[in-house]
């Protein structure tokens, strides 16, 4: 940079004019900060998160396929009119109240399966990540009364994911971009898809009454349009570079929010447990292992519960790790071991308490903190840094 000589203007003799020196120093600091903010962080973590989250939703939708109509569809005890009354009150987003026809429900459910699969593969992630968010929210808000903590995590994270550039690596998008660049081709299918989605959005625009969703979706669409316009008409790369930088900044913010949300989940779960007398006296796990709704393998649960030392240590260990989680992320070596421990614990919960989707959702969240070196050893020195 041409302004490098102004790094320490204050220690120089009066030769440099103070006003411009201060100006230059500020500009350099701003340039550094902006450069840091516009550099893409956690691209591998984000791709892993995308694959994990969409794969999890895909598995969930396939598992619940036989029960789909009772859970979210026309045979649900939470009838469509009950759902519509609750939605009218709390303004939750769902497209399933738009029509009572069974065809509409089946379209949305199977569309959700398709979108989850496409997002997992990384096909047109700018569009599929938004559609994925809409599909997840639509199903969850059609019947919010059957969702447990796992559904809560998935719903919130699906929203955050739509704001990331989750297709930068490990995706069909990345492969297509590489090939296009090598062959000097310009991708046209994406532009056509953007037009189709615009027409579709125009069609349904009055279906989001009482919420900001229409504005959010139009904003997504307009930004993508701006990006196409910049690529098509801009002389020089200025506007293109600017949009790219802003999108990357948004991605970084979304990843920061995801990381903070995970910390908040663990901290809340941990700090509130500390206040419970059953966790204090070490018997908390004993109760969890004796609940009929959470014991798919009662023999295994009882076997574990009969060991006093094990129950107390595991109970205390859980609380300690959950409370310590946000604070241990700063220590890189310790962090990887901690994440391994968390993943093991979640695997145990998945089997013992019969909560595979909740556990898998938390494992996917843990994966956001894995160091880049572990995810992509050959690119150790590349631009992407591990998330904290």
């Amino acid at each position: 940079m041409s302004i490098d000589h102004l790094t320490h203007p204050t220690v120089r003799p009066a030769a440099a004019p103070p006003a411009s020196a201060v100006h230059g120093r500020w500009r350099e600091a701003a340039a550094r900060l902006v450069a840091f903010a516009c550099e893409m962080h956690a691209r591998y973590q984000c791709a892993l998160f995308r694959i994990g989250l969409s794969g999890l939703v895909l598995a969930y939708l396939l598992r619940e396929w036989p029960h789909r109509r009772v859970l979210y569809g026309d045979r649900s005890p939470w009838a469509l009119d009950l759902a519509a009354r609750l939605v009218a009150e709390n303004h939750a987003f769902t497209v399933l109240t738009w029509s009572a026809g069974r065809w509409w429900f089946e379209c949305v459910y199977h569309g959700a399966i398709l979108v989850a699969a496409l997002l997992m593969l990384g096909w047109r992630t700018r569009a599929t990540s938004v559609l994925f968010m809409l599909a997840v929210l639509s199903l969850q808000n059609r019947n919010p009364l059957i969702g447990d903590g796992g559904d809560n995590v998935i719903g919130v994270m699906a929203i955050y994911l739509a704001f990331t550039r989750c297709g930068a690596v490990w995706s069909l998008d990345a492969r297509r971009n590489r090939r296009d660049r090598r062959a000097g081709r310009v991708d046209r299918a994406g532009f056509v898809m953007w037009q189709i989605l615009g027409v579709a959005l125009l069609w349904v625009s009055d279906g989001f009454q009482g919420t900001a969703w229409a504005a959010v979706l139009w904003a997504f669409w307009a930004c993508q349009g701006l990006w196409y316009a910049a690529r098509r008409w801009s002389r020089g790369a200025w506007s293109r570079e600017l949009l790219d930088a802003a999108a990357t900044m948004l991605h970084n913010c979304a990843m920061l929010v995801i990381a903070a949300q995970v910390c908040l989940i663990y901290a809340t779960a941990g700090w509130y447990k500390i206040q419970g007398t059953r966790w204090q006296d070490g018997s908390g796990l004993h109760y969890a292992l004796h609940l009929d709704y959470f014991s798919p393998w009662p023999g295994l649960g009882s076997l574990l519960a009969s060991h006093m030392l094990l129950i107390v240590l595991l109970g205390y260990g859980t609380v300690v790790v959950q409370v310590a989680f946000p604070f241990l992320l700063g220590y890189r070596r310790l962090k990887t071991a901690l994440l391994g421990l968390m993943i093991l614990e979640h695997a145990g919960i998945a089997v013992l308490l019969g909560l595979p989707f909740l556990s898998a959702a938390m494992v996917v969240c843990d994966a956001v903190f894995l160091p880049t070196a572990l995810l992509k050893p050959s690119r150790r020195s590349s631009g992407s840094r591990p998330k904290r």
Binding site: D74, P77, F93, E241, L242, M249, L264, T268, A288, G354
Partner: protein
């Protein structure tokens, strides 16, 4: 982090200004969002109560923060929901059926299944929770949600009981709920202070044809 500014092409002043403004706006939004989420999970405090409408307006309905999983106390009761129906055959005499244990059916479906369905693990269990939290002890609904949740519980019971009965027309349904505390471990101080089983029988709910819509 230290070399972040040194690499890459230098940006012109206009782009720097635009990007800096964008960064400030985005960071502001992130801070606002995280602060709201944080206040949503804190225990009650003066800040939270003063800005409750702002916090709730942002967090609900799409960012609910229900992370008190098994906390502060783990669940320590096995709640069993039973239902029975009154049927009215054409001859006129109504007949009250046997209690059907709906929970036992769920538990049997979960047992030895590595991936239990929400239909068995969550539907009835949470429906009863929602009912309980939206009704007084004397089964008076608190607000619109109480009415909606009662309808939901009734329809779950109807769907499950009617599915097993052939032909006869159900005119009323009743629920009975038993909460059995999990016995404390032998080595715990609590062993002596174990609570007793609680029963709760709900009033008969009449069933109309429209209550069966879609079931």
């Amino acid at each position: 982090m230290a070399d972040a500014g040194g690499t890459g092409p230098g940006r012109s002043l206009p782009s720097l200004v635009i990007l800096a403004v964008t960064a400030v706006v985005l960071l502001g939004a992130v801070c606002w969002h995280l602060a709201t989420l944080f206040l949503a999970v804190t225990p009650d405090n003066p800040v939270k109560s003063r800005y409750a409408h702002l916090i709730n307006g942002h967090v609900y309905p799409e960012f609910p923060q229900g992370w008190q999983l098994f906390a502060p106390e783990p669940l320590h009761e096995n709640v069993i929901v039973e239902a029975r129906v009154r049927t009215a055959p054409d001859s006129g005499n109504s007949h009250t059926g046997q209690w059907a244990n709906l929970t036992a059916h769920d538990v049997a479906a979960i047992r030895h299944h590595p991936v239990p369905s929400h239909a068995h693990q969550n539907m009835l269990r949470l429906a009863w929770n929602f009912y309980q939290n939206s009704h007084s002890r004397r089964d008076v609904p608190l607000g619109t949600r109480g009415i909606l949740f009662a309808e939901y519980v009734k329809r779950i019971a109807l769907q499950r009981v009617e599915g097993r009965r052939g032909g006869e027309r159900v005119v009323a349904v009743q629920l009975r709920v038993t909460a059995k505390p999990v016995a404390p471990p032998r080595w715990s101080d609590r062993a002596s202070s174990a609570r007793s089983t609680r029963h709760r029988t709900l009033p008969w709910w009449s069933v109309k044809d429209e209550d069966r819509r879609g079931l």
